[in-house]
Symmetry: C2
Amino acid sequence: MLLHGIQTHFTPKLLAGKKILITAGATMEMLDPVRGITNISSGKMGFALAKVATQMGAEVTLVHGHATAVRPEVSHAYFAGTANAMYQSVMQHIADQDVFIAIAAVADYSPLVSAEQKIKKSEESLTIQLKRNKDILADVAKLPNPPYCVGFAAETEHVLQHARQKRQDKNIPLIVANQANLALGSDNNSVTLIDDSGEYALETADKTSIAAKILSHLHSQLN
Amino acid sequence: MLLHGIQTHFTPKLLAGKKILITAGATMEMLDPVRGITNISSGKMGFALAKVATQMGAEVTLVHGHATAVRPEVSHAYFAGTANAMYQSVMQHIADQDVFIAIAAVADYSPLVSAEQKIKKSEESLTIQLKRNKDILADVAKLPNPPYCVGFAAETEHVLQHARQKRQDKNIPLIVANQANLALGSDNNSVTLIDDSGEYALETADKTSIAAKILSHLHSQLN
């Protein structure tokens, strides 16, 4: 806690007075009470952003799914275990936010039917019908008076192309692209920031340092 | 580490000279490099069994999947992230084991096809074809000279009936039944041991205490 206090003390208060909503971790779309479809996510990068944004003086609202990393102390924290719960929680808290950072690994699809009791295995094969989930980031960006929206694109191939496309499709000012197989679960990350002013490839570093660089860049875009 | 040393020192060496293979945590059956089907499991109960069995003097081999709990120190530990990898790892190490405790939440089904690159969302709905996975515990119990097999039944309804049936179907001497929705992720557990000698409902307790009681009962059955 002392170290945390020192870090907080020496971090420039770039984001003082700003309200930032961050999603982090992974959602899990339940097939029954014990099984579900999920995305790999430790929550580390999202929690690092929440921690550093708090140190920079922002009022952080963290809406998080499942994560193995330790959740940092922020102004407001809410658990949302499914894509639908995360959508509801974000929409409930988005109204007066200055910035929305969507980094949670939200499932794109969820089962049409979720069994109330554990499914007993019996058949040799099984078919699951999935329906598309609502797109939280795209819907926030479409709000009448949207916050400054930051998306993340974790891709396994054609990383920059997919990220540019995603930024365009969702109509958001800033997207952070990274190589999913290198970043997921790791303490380090290597990202490229893409916005109207250009593309910035940051050097590989620990996720806390990457978070500080992303937030400093964000600050420069807000003013 | 000192506390661990003291606990180890004062735990009766009931399982000295025994070799025990324990599976723990959850497998994740990948749909693509970042998404998969998994079971809820913190790994806490399996890791508690591995820790206490080690304290009781056993040579523990731990084959574990994904887990949020901290892995205890054991003689041998192997990560197996999928049902197939766990099957292979167990079969590779089972030959000279005295006891096999299968508590991992192993997926019953896995996708017929796993994409090499992240699937891009495009369709409004999606269908996933799954195939049945091999049953690790049942196959170990069918070995010519099987170890003493302990199964776990985490059920959401008709807990004891399902557990009795599972014990019979897999042809194993001891099964531990519990209520999945109460046990999963919790530090406590409430279980019933079912073997040829009867059914023993243990009082609700922390998972370390439950592990000690299960292993003491196991010891009584081995001799």
